[in-house]
């Protein structure tokens, strides 16, 4: 039934557009993922150093970000900031908004991972003469990431889905392309069916990658 409704020649015709959209989606996701992982890890580590002021500042940041919609944050960065002279291109706005948003969640995930590492691990490392940095790098972070990996992966899958919001600031990623294709062809079934499948395939790939990393990752982080 559904098959009759699908125009395969049309699909072949619009596929290149979707592929360029996919590239854009991947660019935003990878950049946003890396930036938010770095910010989130740094803030997560800072939270374990018992400093009240630092804790309050980071708490305000994560609390504020997590209690406001990402779409509004994106609007604010893209349309609000130019008023005070900060003009960003669509792509930059999207990456910054997604990074700031995702980092707030990753901060909490990393903090949880770090807290799960037993105090005795820190003590054993100290007693052996390891510096704070070495203790973090060799002993604590590998164990924390092992614990944090499943929630991190689901956070990244949210991030990838959230890149679709970049369409509202006219970044030519998959969702934007699908709207464009729909308005040009008047074929909503194909126009929105294809991106749905693409998003789903990205998700499946991410799952496979996470399974691979969680089994091999232990070896990789060991150095």
């Amino acid at each position: 039934m559904v098959l009759i409704l699908i125009d395969t020649r049309l699909i072949a015709r619009v596929m290149p557009m979707f592929l360029s959209g996919l590239v854009e989606t991947i660019k935003i996701s990878v950049l946003g993922g890396i930036i938010s992982l770095i910010i989130g890890t740094l803030l997560g580590i800072l939270l374990t150093i018992n400093n009240k002021v630092v804790k309050i500042i980071i708490g305000v940041y994560t609390g504020f970000i997590r209690s406001t919609p990402l779409l509004v944050q994106l609007y604010f960065i893209h349309f609000g900031l130019p008023i005070i002279g900060i003009k960003l291109q669509s792509f930059q706005s999207a990456v910054i908004a997604l990074s700031i948003n995702c980092a707030a969640y990753i901060t909490e995930i990393i903090r949880g991972g770090l807290n799960s590492v037993d105090k005795g691990q820190h003590e054993a490392a100290k007693a052996l003469g390891l510096s704070w940095f070495q203790t973090m790098k060799i002993i604590v972070l590998p164990q924390a990431f092992q614990v944090a990996l499943p929630p991190l992966i689901s956070q990244f899958s949210y991030l990838i889905k959230d890149t679709s919001l970049a369409a509202v600031v006219i970044v030519p990623e998959i969702t934007y392309i699908s709207r464009k294709v729909a308005s040009q062809t008047y074929r909503p079934m194909e126009s929105f069916g294809i991106p749905t499948l693409i998003y789903f395939m990205i998700f499946v790939l991410l799952r496979l990658l996470s399974n691979f990393v969680s089994t091999k990752g232990q070896k990789m982080v060991r150095g």
């Binding site: 005795g120 691990q121 054993a124 100290k126 007693a127 052996l128 003469g129 390891l130």
Partner: protein, 243 residues
């Protein structure tokens, strides 16, 4: 005799609780000192002050003639030259037995990896774990874990070993294998400071015993003197209960 540890007027509080009161103590090269006493007396806390895992408010601790709180270089030197064995082993669960053992010499002392591995294997052989070098800590029994922990500490080639209740978390049948390793170590001339309730071990391997109660060193004397002729009433009462 060369002094390894010298503690002068050490005072420590946990909040308002005065855990260590005016502690003075000397440990010389080759000494095997066992700290005993009721739980909560401050034995472990005292031991943990020696490599500054536990901070203290007053007094001074010199290890290898270096004041531990004077600067970071002293602290680093003392920790590098002091091995520590914990009640709960604290092995690194994401590293194999061999990696646990050579990790510190490679990263802290910058020993070439092959050399560190060679030494690690030698030590693991000495503590009887050579067949398990590629296992992860979770695959070992408690006694095996503690023997690996001892090898890990020895891999740094320390001049002083601290033992914080090394057999308290072990099943009775595993205590012996760990004590045997410690006895060998004592015989080899290692300077050791041990918090333990194992009076049989103390009788065999220690040369000095100290009784600690309520944050005070009630008594410290040579082993024979301590068992045969305890001076303090508190010590007598304690010994009569546990022997």
């Amino acid at each position: 005799m060369k002094k390894i540890i010298e503690i002068n007027k050490l005072n420590k509080w946990f909040g308002k609780h005065h855990v260590l009161k005016d502690i003075n103590l000397e440990v010389c090269e080759g000494d095997v000192l066992v700290l005993c006493g009721p739980s909560g007396a401050g034995k472990s806390t005292l031991l943990r002050c020696i490599n500054l895992l536990e901070n203290f408010q007053e007094g001074e601790i010199l290890v290898f003639d270096k004041s531990i709180k004077e600067n970071r270089a002293n602290l680093r030197f003392i920790r590098k030259s002091t091995g520590m064995v914990f009640q709960h082993f604290n092995l690194f669960p994401h590293l194999t037995v061999l990696e646990n053992t050579y990790m510190a010499p490679v990263n802290v002392k910058k020993v070439p990896k092959e050399k560190a591995i060679e030494l690690s294997k030698e030590l693991l052989n000495k503590v009887g774990i050579l067949d398990k070098i590629d296992a992860y800590p979770e695959q070992l029994s408690g006694g095996q874990k503690q023997r690996v922990a001892i090898a890990r500490a020895l891999a740094m080639e320390p001049k002083l070993m601290l033992f914080d209740e090394p057999t308290s978390a072990l099943d009775p049948e595993m205590i012996k294998e760990v004590l045997e390793v410690m006895k060998q170590l004592a015989l080899s001339g290692m300077t050791m400071m041990i918090v333990s309730h194992e009076m049989g071990f103390a009788r065999e391997a220690a040369n000095k015993i100290s009784f600690i109660d309520q944050g005070n060193i009630v008594e410290i004397s040579d082993k024979d003197e301590f068992f045969r002729n305890p001076k303090h009433e508190r010590t007598k009462a304690f010994l009569s209960k546990i022997l």
